[in-house]
Amino acid sequence: MAEQVVMTEPVAVEREFQTVDMNINMGPQHPSTHGVFRMVLTVDGEVVKDVIPYIGYLHRGAEKLSESLDYRGSLGFQDRTDYLAAFCNEWVHVNATERLAGIEAPERAEYVRLILSELNRVLSHLMFAGAFGTDVGFFGTAFTWAFKERELIQDYFEAVTGDRMMYNYFRVGGLAWEPHETFVEDGHWLVERLRAGVEDLDALMTRNEIMIARCRDVGLLSAEDAVNHGVTGPMLRASGVAFDLRVDEPYSIYDRFEWDIPVGDRGDVYDRFLVRMEEMRQSLRIVEQALDQMPTSGPVVAEGLPTRLRPAPAEIYQRQEGPRGEYGIYMVSDGSDKPWRMKVRSPCFHNLSALKQMTIGSYIADAVIILGSVDIVLGEVDR
């Protein structure tokens, strides 16, 4: 042995009033990690000195599984990655496949897809508002109020698809079946109810003094840092970048509607909250216009679809604006009936990468609300 290792008693370095740092393990079972996320905080008293996030507890291999099923069969996995934005993800998947195979969905189907996806965005943001309220410390009031409205959306989705969470309703070339007869009337009623619900939540949370004291100037993220971390969605817009794929890379029929993009000025937790609240209103605006414009009759699925899709060898990257940001699917076809490669670009994974920068130097309680403001869905981070 070259060196002899001698174990000695740890010698305390003599420094005046030196406090001792402590490691705190938050998660994977912790009420505020929104699933199975784990972060190890190094704290000096209450101030966070360092944070190490650990992910991967919910990895189910959705990408690899999709490569062993045909193009239509793997659609169900999209419901289960980001389970709060199932329609949005399904839409990306069917759009990617349609572009690969050169299929076009009928107009009516596009409208239904858009309405359902925008309502899904509202649903997801409602879930955010509720969970965020719990993080900030509303004892369940924000949560139940948000869930009361979310329940209505789920009822509506159930009426259309027969399922409350894993819809599996979009199809390559259209929809699985015609939406129910009162789709449009129910939709209008729902939009009105949701408007009132969003205003209720707004009255409860937005102007609350403690809420402002807690969220303002916490977890700052500059526009430049946000872009460098690959942050997208409401988080990026809260940081002051008016980037929305619905506008900046228009897909489907978004160019037919009139609405606004909320953009934050400061890039703190409070801005992220405000942006999401405003996005709910804007989504409802879109839904209302879409319900009015929607053709009353017509096919919901393209005619003459092949029983087995065998797209010509090509690769494609389809990205769309999900509730959490840019949800993209990269597909490579080798001419067979299964994708040769399928890769999901999930927004939360990238948004989460900014967590460390936002958290260091804040308090433990801030770490919780910063994580809440990222609005992570672990199913989508780990896939």
Binding site: F139, G140, N208, I261, P262, Y270, Y363
Partner: protein, 400 residues
């Protein structure tokens, strides 16, 4: 004031004084256990209404037996002690939390003659014993060998020490006025006796003379009892329950018992000192039955407000909590004491005291409002019309 009813008169047998006191204490413990069960049930029901739910419904009619079922479950549950916990500190902590809370009931007058003992220094006594409570909390936090518990314990300790001071000063304001009244009546001393304080409030409850004192006292009570929005020591989403995270079964239920009994004690104290307890508005002539109704009605109203606050407010951050106590409440409490002293020393009438206190309260609220609005800084998001366009990467990087 008539003398306190002695139990031995009821029973018809002679008994030493301390046996009498002990019986009353045991009676209070039993009563408060029932009270806790009722409070938990009511809190669940009230919160449920605020949250658009119905609350417990399955056990008994309208779920009224829910608390009893919970208690039964807790009593039969295994009492787990973590292997690495410090045995004595862990197990004794419960009693250090539990016992002081019940000891605090000794001077509380439920009616003119119903109390355990009529302590001459009752008000001071309550605060002295309240300080002991926190030792148990920090023992639990440290003894559990759990970092969440430790954080919760430290938070609780810092919070209790910070809010004790404004609370004491708010109480001092009341005691000053009571002492002034007593002096007018030709008496010296007794201003710290809770029953005397109630007796003073036949026509004007002290909340009218000390609105600022009442608000500071209630904020302090919320903080001392770890109620929202000051519930950081037990914050579910941060420290997962705080200092009692490692406790289970009967020990955990004792923490809960202490918590709700403390809550009840604080509202009893508030109702006694500020709202006129059994006296205001007609208690003194109406007999014991009406007196207890008056006391409990005031206490219930305050408890309802506390439940309401729980449903409607998020929690503060620990540094904001400390800053609020030391930088906002303490100066205002000091100002209040100073103002009282000056007015009373120069023989100012009661309504001047009340008016000055009200003015201070208004300026306190205005200060908080202005500070928070300044922090919020108006609207910080703006809307950009969505027009289809393509953004180049340089445009995005420059922050648009």
């Amino acid at each position: 004031m008539p003398d306190a009813i002695v139990l031995s008169e009821f029973a018809g047998i002679g008994m030493p004084d301390w046996v009498d006191a002990l019986i009353r204490l045991v009676f209070i413990v039993a009563l408060m256990t029932l009270n806790t069960l009722a409070l938990i049930y009511l809190e669940r029901k009230v919160l449920a209404r605020f949250q658009a739910r119905v609350g417990p419904t399955r056990t008994g009619p309208v779920g009224i037996l829910q608390s009893a079922a919970d208690a039964l479950k807790l009593l039969t549950k295994e009492d787990v002690r973590p292997h690495s916990a410090d045995r004595w500190v862990f197990e004794l902590a419960v009693f250090f939390v539990f016992v002081p809370v019940f000891l605090m009931f000794i001077p509380i007058p439920f009616t003119e003659t119903w109390f355990i003992r009529d302590l001459e220094l009752g008000f001071l006594y309550v605060f002295a014993v309240l300080g002991l409570n926190i030792v148990g909390v920090i023992m639990a936090g440290w003894g559990s060998d759990n970092k969440y518990a430790l954080l919760g314990g430290i938070r609780a300790a810092a919070q209790a020490i910070s809010y004790e001071l404004p609370m004491l000063l708010a109480a001092a304001g009341v005691v000053m006025i009571a002492a002034g009244h007593l002096l007018d009546a030709g008496l010296v001393g007794g201003a710290l006796n809770l029953n005397t304080i109630v007796d003073q409030q036949r026509t004007t409850p002290y909340i009218l003379l000390q609105p600022l004192g009442f608000v500071i006292f209630m904020i302090g009570a919320l903080a001392e009892m770890h109620r929202p929005p000051f519930d950081m020591p037990v914050a579910e989403s941060e420290v997962v329950g705080g200092y009692f995270v490692e406790y289970s079964g009967i020990r955990w239920s004792m923490f809960f018992l202490a918590e709700y009994t403390g809550l009840f004690l604080m509202v009893m104290l508030g109702s006694t000192v500020f709202l006129g307890g059994w006296n205001f508005p007609f208690g003194a002539d109406a007999g014991l039955g009406w007196q207890i109704v008056l006391t409990l009605a005031k206490a219930s109203a305050m408890i309802f407000v506390l439940f309401w606050l729980r449903a409607m407010f998020p929690r503060l951050r620990i540094d904001q909590l400390m800053a609020f106590s030391w930088k906002v409440l303490l100066p205002f409490a000091l100002l209040q004491v100073l103002a009282n002293g000056i007015i009373l020393a120069y023989g100012g009438p009661d309504w001047v005291v009340g008016l000055v206190s009200l003015a201070l309260l208004v300026s306190l609220v205005a200060l908080i409002y202005v500070l928070v609005r300044a922090k919020a800084g108006g609207d910080s998001i703006h809307l950009e019309p969505a027009r289809p366009r393509l953004v180049t990467s340089t445009e995005v990087a420059s922050g648009d």
